[in-house]
């Protein structure tokens, strides 16, 4: 078994640190991966300096999609929105610490897509295919 199911991924999947919803929130966005039905929602609270003070994710899906959401939400807490906008595929893969084939890459990138949907608004969101190819 290679390292796809690294301890960190199974651990975050089984014991997520940032699972939940924020009510009220400043940003909330959710999306599905139609290929496998994975679903992720991310809620953000932002202070007057556009810094993320609190973030939570919810949803359901495979270990890769849910662990990447938990890790990503942890990473962005305390970040400025403008820095969040710069995050890309490489950042998510670094958090997971693994390389992924084309199918599972989309599982990993769903949370990034949702995050970008939340902070950019719908119109500028790349599709999962575009994100995977980025």
């Amino acid at each position: 078994m290679d390292d796809l199911y690294r301890e960190v991924i199974i651990d975050r999947y089984q014991n997520p640190r940032f699972r939940g919803e924020l009510d009220p929130h400043d940003y909330s966005y959710q999306d599905d991966n139609p290929v496998c039905g994975d679903h992720v929602r991310i809620d953000l609270r932002v202070d007057e300096n556009d810094t993320i003070t609190e973030a939570k994710f919810s949803g359901e899906g495979c270990s890769i999609s849910q662990a990447s959401a938990d890790l990503l939400v942890e990473k962005i807490t305390g970040m400025k929105l403008e820095d969040v906008r710069q995050l890309g595929k490489a950042d998510v893969l670094e958090l997971l610490g693994i390389d992924l084939g084309p199918v599972r890459l989309k599982c990993a990138l769903l949370s990034l897509k949702v995050l970008k949907g939340g902070v950019y608004g719908l119109d500028d969101v790349m599709t999962l295919d575009e994100l995977a190819a980025s």
Partner: protein, 415 residues
């Protein structure tokens, strides 16, 4: 559509020798166990070679060709139509329409018969276990024309609740369209009975046979079904090809589907008259090589015998259900073996189906994870997705053992 236990035994070693892909390794040193025939079957050499031969020595466009090669191609294409007709016991080859896939076959009926014969408020009766291919075309028609949709319910056990049928038929549906075998639950539905009851209520009946036609003997005349949709690639044939069977009088009365070459008799600048059935529904150059390949697939299945195929699929499914029961935390959906064949869809406590399929893949076992194009059925059972193992005439009990061993590895990782 029943399983005959008297069928002669099937020689799986001999069959496997005909399928080159089954002898590949999944990864170095790991045997491939292909358990995804419900999505697409593998192809025997006879099918691959029939298409090669077509391209090497028979290729030309069909119909209207005066030269010999064109005649050879036309004959090969029409001979395959006759073989498919015989395979499902249609009374005439003209009742076989070639489409792109089973999905297009259903859409053809919805867009031609449906548009011409259904008006606002008319009812189409479906079931809760339909594949999206027999759901969305009717939803589109509902949005366009205001027709109503109702559904024969699925019981907790995973079979159709026929007790609910009389009340639904009292609402006078114009069409009852249903699957003869669920692609998720493996449920074999009482197709002949549903067709009979539909006809008694003056409704037409259509069967989605994408799963049943590859696995069970099919006799459209005995079923008395009005339309039957199925796919080539799930029954040893090539992709890109589907079949619609329809009773000739219905096909004759239906408006054409797509417009273009071949489907016309005469064309003027502002008008056309349609060709006869089946050309009326086959606009443009069809998938000639694929049709020839399907003809070879049908020859192959008939040589093995569909009774033998059905009995063997059923035996494999029974063995799989028995072995899956041993695995703690695993839940198989659908009815017991008496109502089921050809697949087993399951969830695994603590492990998402996508992760299960990924780990199975690492042990050479090809399965499918997801909603299997039946989201409403998954919603019914309160689960987003399942892992599905599906079986066909070339699978073995050893491959099912390989699946079970790999499932214990899932347990080690997620347990």
């Amino acid at each position: 559509m029943t399983i005959s236990p008297q069928a002669g035994p099937l020689d799986v070693d001999k069959i496997r020798a005909d399928f080159p892909i089954l002898h590949m390794e999944a990864s170095p040193g790991v045997k491939l166990a292909y358990l995804d025939s419900g999505a697409s079957s593998q192809k025997p050499l006879a099918v691959i070679e029939a298409m090669n031969t077509y391209y090497r020595s028979q290729n030309a466009n069909i119909h209207r060709a005066v030269y010999t090669l064109g005649e050879v191609a036309t004959e090969a294409y029409e001979a395959a139509r006759a073989k498919v007709a015989k395979f499902i016991n249609a009374s005439k080859p003209r009742e076989i329409i070639f489409t792109r896939n089973a999905t297009e076959s259903v859409n053809l009926v919805a867009q031609t018969w449906g548009r011409a014969n259904l008006k606002e408020g008319d009812l189409v009766l479906l079931t809760e276990m339909e594949h999206h291919a027999n759901l969305v075309p009717w939803q589109m028609l509902a949005a366009e024309k205001g027709i109503r949709l109702e559904f024969i319910p699925v019981t907790e056990e995973g079979i159709l609740d026929l007790a609910a049928l009389p009340a639904l038929l009292e609402q006078k549906p114009k069409l009852v369209s249903f699957t003869a075998m669920s692609n998720v639950l493996g449920t074999i539905t009482p197709a002949a009975e549903i067709v009979r009851l539909a006809h008694e209520a003056s409704a037409l009946a259509m069967i989605d046979g994408a799963q049943s036609v590859p696995h069970l003997p099919t006799d459209v005349q005995a079923l008395d079904v009005d339309f039957l949709a199925f796919s080539s690639h799930k029954m040893l044939g090539p992709t890109g090809l589907g079949v619609l069977y329809g009773k000739l009088d219905l096909l004759n009365a239906m408006p054409p589907f797509m417009g273009g070459g071949d489907m016309i008799k005469r064309v003027e600048l502002r008008s056309f008259t349609t060709n006869e059935v089946p050309q009326k529904f086959e606009a443009g150059t069809p998938a000639i090589a694929e049709v020839v390949g399907l003809g070879a697939a049908v020859d192959y299945l008939m040589a093995v015998g569909m009774d033998a195929v059905a009995a063997y699929d059923h035996e494999l499914t029974a063995y799989a259900l028995e072995r899956l029961e041993e695995v703690q935390g695993l839940k198989v959906f659908g009815p017991g073996i008496e109502h089921k064949s050809s697949n087993a869809s399951f969830t695994f406590e603590g492990a998402h189906p996508h992760d299960v399929a990924e780990i199975l893949n690492r042990h050479g076992v090809a399965t499918r994870a997801g909603h299997h194009c039946a989201m409403p059925l998954h919603n019914k059972f309160g689960i987003p997705s399942t892992t599905r193992a599906s079986f066909y005439l070339y699978n073995t009990k050893e491959e099912i053992d390989q699946l079970i061993e790999a499932l214990y590895k899932v347990k080690e990782i997620f347990g």
